[in-house]
Point group: C3
Chain length 428, copies 3
């Protein structure tokens, strides 16, 4: 009975047309060209490497996409238990009519060829969106992205600010900022002016959020103007030679300035809390980052108090931080729970984390899910995974445990899947 109930709820949720509120899609090149774009996603390369495949075999610059696929598929056996592998199979089934439940040395080439043919169509990206029931996807754009050449109501810009906050010590970042600002950035006023220009530009292009990923030891603090002047001066002039104290003060100042502009122009500020970059230094591309789960939302106390009018949709990397996120969203009007990020984006953690949110955070303050994808094909299996878990939670914990009607449960599911994306990000 429970399983039928889950299936019925899933069907209703699955009928919904969605907006994906956080992705890394390149709007000018949104879909895959070959299966290598799919299998080249770090979720596969890092797992294949972890299971023993040498990095050199994966990242060999000389090989063709087809050869890359051949090599990777031969190394997927040890991962066929993972949920990530199931995404691959679901994509093969839904987009390319694949009928098995394993892709291996025997059958991969036919799949590759079918995929390549379909992907070669000029309509492929549109077809993926159609099949995936996706109306729009949010991007994560570098601050100097011209945001030109695409439909910003379908590919919705968001301002990514990691470089500004954490890498202004790099000459390249300073150059890009001055280039996009059209003026020298030499001190606090010119830096603020440049940042203000970014917000103006992004807003004019339908941007719906400012976003940043943050290391576990980051604790935003307001920096005095005097201290900011010294720190920004050091960072701009000494770059990577600036003292750690100056670098930290500069990061804090810029972060705070971003929050001020979010307040001024009315943009939500997506915080993605908890990642340590480059922990496994010999890992594959995008497969080097890990974390320290000893992080607390208390580090953001001053920020949440200082910016009551900025909405902070927050993702946490570790499931052990989810209760704090739940509690802070229950108390702070400006804190919203946002999806299930990266290492917490697997069923056991999603189930535990989503259940805790659904029963304690106001229903209007929960963004259920985003795909975080780099290529459009991934939204379908990732959202499907989430919707199955959401249906399970709604069936078991709301209909059965709490006596809700199916219709009530489905309404709640639809709201966190779609309705809140519209209201929180002012989409539509």
């Amino acid at each position: 009975m429970t399983q039928e109930l889950r299936t019925r709820i899933f069907s209703e949720l699955d009928a919904l047309v969605l907006i994906d509120p956080h992705t890394h899609i390149d709007a000018l090149n949104p879909a895959s060209r070959t299966l290598a774009d799919i299998l080249g996603y770090h979720y596969y390369t890092e797992l294949a490497h972890s299971a023993g495949m040498p990095k050199e075999q994966i990242e060999d610059p000389e090989i063709s996409p087809k050869e890359k696929c051949r090599r990777l598929i031969e190394n997927l056996g040890p991962l066929d238990n993972t949920i990530q592998y199931s995404w691959f199979i679901e994509m093969a089934q839904k987009f390319f009519g694949f009928e098995g439940d394993r892709v291996d040395a025997e059958n991969w080439e036919a799949l590759y060829d079918v995929a390549e043919e379909k992907m070669s169509s000029a309509e492929w990206a549109s077809q993926v969106l159609e099949i995936s029931k996706l109306e729009a996807v949010f991007l994560t754009n570098n601050f100097d992205d011209p945001l030109e050449g695409f439909d910003t109501s379908k590919y919705v810009p968001c301002l990514r600010t990691d470089d500004l906050v954490f890498h202004l010590t790099r000459r390249e970042v300073q150059d890009r900022l001055q280039h996009v600002a059209g003026a020298a950035v030499t001190d606090v006023p010119s830096l603020r002016a440049a940042i203000g220009g970014l917000f103006e530009h992004f807003k004019s292009k339908n941007a719906r959020a400012c976003a940043i990923s943050l290391p576990p030891d980051f604790a935003p603090a307001r920096v005095s103007e005097g201290r900011a002047a010294t720190a920004i001066d050091a960072v701009l002039r000494k770059k990577l030679e600036a003292s750690e104290a100056d670098q930290r003060a500069a990061s804090n100042y810029i972060f705070w300035t971003l929050a001020e502009f979010c307040a001024e122009v009315g943009l939500p500020f997506d915080l993605m809390i908890g990642v340590n970059r480059g922990v496994y230094k010999d890992g594959v591309f995008q497969g080097q980052d890990l974390y320290d789960s000893r992080v607390s939302m208390i580090q953001y106390k001053e920020l949440f108090n200082a910016f009551p009018r900025v909405t902070f949709p927050i993702s946490v990397l570790a499931s052990v931080t989810n209760q704090e996120l739940t509690s802070y969203a229950w108390i702070f009007p400006n804190v919203v729970t946002n999806g299930h990020w990266w290492y917490s984006n697997t069923p056991t953690f999603i189930e535990h984390d989503a259940a805790a949110r659904l029963e304690a955070v106001p229903r209007t303050k929960q963004i259920g899910y985003y795909s975080d994808m780099y290529k459009l094909e991934f939204a379908l299996p990732k959202f499907a995974m989430y919707k199955r878990i959401l249906a399970k939670i709604l069936a078991e914990r709301f209909v059965i445990d709490r006596g809700w009607t199916e219709a009530q449960a489905i309404d709640l599911g639809k709201q966190v899947l779609r309705g809140n994306v519209e209201t929180v990000f002012g989409y539509k």
Copy 2:
């Protein structure tokens, strides 16, 4: 089959007459007078505020109880997913014959009027206890509470000591202490004498526990007599101007002294570990506290070793601390697990935390639940929530997973719900 099993076990647990071992009931004014006393509970005001209702609308001193209810009910829609909302509906159904599953603009006024009429009866508090199958409730009394005018076998006093440990720096607290001591408190000996008097007074009034809530960075340590003398002197004379080091040493000294008196007079010492006060400074009344989940029971190592004869019933604010609590109760004879506190008092966390305790801590060392309520009406829905989860755990994890008989499972449930309250607190 599982659901029927759960229902049968729940029925047996639900037939039990209970003692609620931790509440904030005012014994002279234990039940609600209007629905505003129920909806004014911080669980509703803070969630309504979090969902967008301005604090000023909630805390407007000019409005009537009825107007306050009208306003709050209009703002409950965004919380109707929460377990807290379900408590409200269950109270409306069980106490006032409400038949729907939503209270809204259409039907609230009739409910308000029915409630007001029932609550106006001189027997209302007794009726609530009767309907709730509550035999007694433990209070949490300020140290200078005269404990007069009520039946202390029904409303059982407990000595709350937060003010003594953390706020002796306040003139008002010093004045209250001297007043109740009937003597000047000027140094360590007079302070000890005053505290000893409190214990004597409370014991004479049937007190069953000493209780305190503690911030996550508190780590009790024994303080030497010399250091204590300096610190207490500084705190008594300089008050809020005392140095942080003196304040900390004074807190530690007083805390340790409380444990000594608990040992002397034979009172359990309820520790509620992990809360940070006033994190959201513009939050509604009692809706400002949050936490840092980076806390460890190792901080209490010295205490548990030093006081083998004091029983410490312990509540932790964050579910991530529950495994440590479970392990420490498994090893230390004087550590008892105590209920599911505040931000961990929602079904997903209760289920995970209670299951872990039930399978690894001696059955005699677990206090299943307390309501933490401010008004009597809340025990019913809160205990009902817990009993449903307890029945689920017993059905799934004991009867099904481990082959227990239903009778064995029900016995375990009854022991953690009621039996252990009697033995741990020496009630009856």
Copy 3:
């Protein structure tokens, strides 16, 4: 339907002949002689003590094994809810034909006598292995264990290194090391030579791993040769009087040296992360250790990067660390998840932790379980507990939630139970 599915999967898993990859078995005395060897296991003595039994009654050196059993059994009532108690009953049933579900004052003596008779057989250890379907068990040998007098293909040696890393400050440890080295250990070169000799000896005796348990604040770091020389000199000469800094540097140097030898001779290095020793100083034998769950795998970043060719099977003491372990095993090729250790070896934590690993870590990189036992009889109930939970996860999360066939689920179960023990430790 789910329960039948679980039962079918369990039966298949339960038919497997196993290798137990981590125990504390004494190969010369592997099985129990009386029931007192079973009930004397710290899991029972510490729980009985925690529930109120005085340590003196348990550890009275004057009493017979039978009297010890009588006393303990009279104190097991308060623990009959625990999973540890269920192990005892399962042993009584499977090894001694006991038919009840409680051992108490009425029936214990008959059980004791039956057990004593069976245990007195010269074949008892073999019978236990046979009944338990155990082909081999890994030991945890002190560095100066001669490893003589037993079949090392059945009782597989592993080099335990806690003493070397953390207790070289003790004269007794230095003496043992010099004795086994057959040479004075006076400085870094002679220490390295002695350690090298240990590895050579253990390898010659079929050792399959080096192992160590680590406190939560340990963060391995490479130590320069100069610093090592000073620190080792201080530790060897001043022993417990060596400064804390020297002790820490010496620990780090020795730990790093062990990893170097693991790389050289090709041994996996089992890391058991998170225990604080002697927290409850008046606890019973082996019932004094607890932990601080605030530990992160990031502390091992440098180690994992420095030794890409050493496999690190890792156990974590706290379930809150399990997600980090899962993520690090997903990214680092040399990190393998290893069993469910001690305070996390209870069903609720195993279920949550194992489910998270099974869906995100390559299937080749997970050691499902080890018993950690001191006497052979414990493998049966401990593995049975794990297999039931594994069957539950495979049924609910793979067959039902993800549409796997039963055969696929069983294959995955068999691989983590047995196949990976062979491949990771090079057994067979």
